[in-house]
């Protein structure tokens, strides 16, 4: 379906306007003497926006954002590096893959939140327990994609590369590696998202800084406005990171017929 860019943006804005209008009316206009969305539970859009503004104006938010961003980056980099290494290793050594298969499935099936207390015990309340949680999420996404990427190299491309005289090292560099990378980058949005989830959930469960910590603090004193303000900032943060990932993806996957970014 073809739709103009302006029209699409207009419709998207309309959804936001409708959402805020319902929220505003429900929380500030009594209908038959009753508020549909009581302030205590739902706050009001104006309060939330004012709070977001004061958080940025007061400057205290920047430190928390930096902490969360730093945790996300570390979790993504460490998790990806581990996933690439193990993915390659398993794909090239099928015996390893078979031996470890049930364990990989087992750990992947485990809800990662239950690991958070253990990481906190091991690594303390600082950033590393959050990074560790993010790593366990990112690692498996990258691992599965790299593993598939190496195994799914077109047999014709591989046979052709061999007939052109490539040795194992050259096959790795010119065939396996680019193929695995393309699979990894196709999951970039997901893995960056999970790195952030790991960081925020970790902060929420126990920390002294970060967006998750701010939300948890507000919740502890029934400050619903604070919780919503934290959520708004988190959402904007996610949009920004996603946009940056799209930029990176467009640069790295130029050879692809239709990169995932092109469809957004």
């Amino acid at each position: 379906m073809r739709i103009g860019r302006a029209k699409l943006l207009g419709l998207q804005a309309l959804v936001a306007v409708a959402f805020f209008a319902i929220w505003h009316v429900g929380s500030s206009v009594p209908i038959g003497g009753v508020y549909f969305l009581p302030k205590f539970f739902f706050s009001t859009p104006i309060d939330v926006i004012t709070r977001v503004w004061s958080m940025f104006a007061g400057g205290k938010i920047w430190g928390h954002l930096a902490i969360t961003l730093w945790e996300t980056i570390l979790a993504f980099v460490i998790g990806s590096a581990g996933g690439v290494l193990v993915g390659f290793w398993f794909a090239r050594k099928p015996l390893m893959a078979l031996v470890f298969d049930p364990y990989v499935k087992m750990i992947n099936a485990l809800p990662r939140v239950v690991l958070a207390p253990i990481f906190m015990l091991w690594l303390g309340l600082g950033i590393w327990s959050k990074v560790a949680l993010g790593v366990t999420l990112v690692f498996f996404i990258v691992f599965f994609n790299v593993y598939e990427g190496v195994k799914e190299v077109s047999p014709t491309v591989l046979a052709n590369a061999r007939m052109l005289g490539m040795n194992e090292r050259q096959l790795f560099r010119h065939v396996y590696w680019p193929s695995a990378l393309s699979w990894m980058f196709s999951s970039l949005h997901t893995s960056v998202g999970f790195a952030l989830v790991g960081a925020v959930v970790g902060e929420y469960l126990g920390s002294a800084a970060g967006l998750g910590y701010l939300i948890h603090q507000a919740e502890g004193v029934f400050d619903v406005t604070g919780v919503f303000a934290g959520m708004v900032i988190l959402s904007a943060f996610v949009l920004l990171i996603d946009w940056l990932v799209t930029l990176v993806e467009d640069r790295l996957l130029v050879w692809r017929p239709q990169s995932a970014a092109g469809q957004n």
Partner: protein, 282 residues
């Protein structure tokens, strides 16, 4: 057989000539099936390819022509029989051969120029020099201005041209081609046939060209080998094509000599095609 000029089925089981570039003798090729049994694709096939000779292998679908080509390339190890390249038994991949595949074989993450240049780079040619040579080869196959395109930005025929440049830039002594123009439309096939003949005529490499298209085989080759229907396929006919060179891959089809040869070979091939279809449930 009516045509006296064509010695059908001659030389099938004769020993390979002394100057054979590729010699397959009594080759069996078998695959293990999922249910534990084995499928014998090719049985007791013997054929040879002399220097500067363009040989086309034609047969019905599923007759194992590509299998035979893979044995000559060293991509498949025959269950029995010998494969000799320049008189020496083939061990591992055939380093003397260039192989043009039927399916897309270009690396999708490399531009056309890089795809061609890599064929030299893997052998140790410095990158700058390899890129220069690749550009010259792209120009030779008519893609001089397409060097920066990625494979997905090229048409099927253009991809085949890049593939041809990629194979020929290494200057292999033997050229193995597995239905290379199979996926292309009829007009593009004839244009590609002429390009191939033009490039081939410069140094006349030994060519083994697999196709299911008898007309294409006669138009291009010095000799057409007919395979029987599979399983247990083998070569059953060997027809020299006496049409003068240089040829034009499309004009040659109007030549009366072409029709005479075509009729004689088709009589033999038709029986095998019918057999092949009888075994495939529709």
């Amino acid at each position: 057989m009516a045509a006296g000029a064509i010695n059908a089925a001659a030389g099938v089981n004769a020993g390979p000539p002394q100057d054979a570039v590729v010699a397959l003798a009594d080759v069996d090729i078998a695959y293990r099936l999922a249910d534990g049994g084995t499928y014998v694709a090719v049985e007791a096939a013997s054929l040879s390819l002399r220097a500067h000779e363009f040989v086309a292998i034609v047969g019905p679908t599923g007759c194992g022509k590509s299998t035979l080509l893979n044995a000559a390339a060293g991509l498949l190890k025959p269950a029995a029989g010998t494969v000799r390249i320049f008189g020496a038994p083939l061990n591992g991949l055939n380093a003397q051969a260039g192989y043009l595949f039927q399916q897309d074989a270009l690396m999708p993450w490399k531009t056309a120029r890089d795809n061609v240049a890599i064929a030299l780079e893997v052998a140790g040619t410095p990158r700058a020099q390899a890129l220069e040579a690749a550009q010259a080869w792209l120009a030779r196959v008519g893609l001089g201005t397409f060097g920066d395109r990625y494979p997905h930005q090229l048409s099927g025929g253009q991809k085949k041209r890049v593939g041809l440049a990629q194979v020929l830039i290494r200057d292999p002594k033997i050229l193995l081609m597995d239905e290379p123009f199979g996926p292309l439309d009829a007009q593009t096939r004839q244009i590609m046939g002429n390009l191939l003949l033009d490039l081939w005529s410069r140094d006349r490499k030994a060519v083994m060209f697999v196709t299911h298209d008898l007309e294409e085989a006669i138009a291009l080759a010095d000799r057409v080998i007919i395979m029987s229907a599979g399983p247990r396929a083998r070569n059953i006919g060997d027809h020299p094509i006496g049409i003068d060179r240089p040829r034009d891959a499309s004009d040659v089809r109007l030549d009366p000599q072409f029709h005479e040869i075509h009729r004689a070979i088709w009589n033999q091939l038709k029986a095998e095609v019918v057999k092949a279809y009888a075994e495939i449930p529709a």
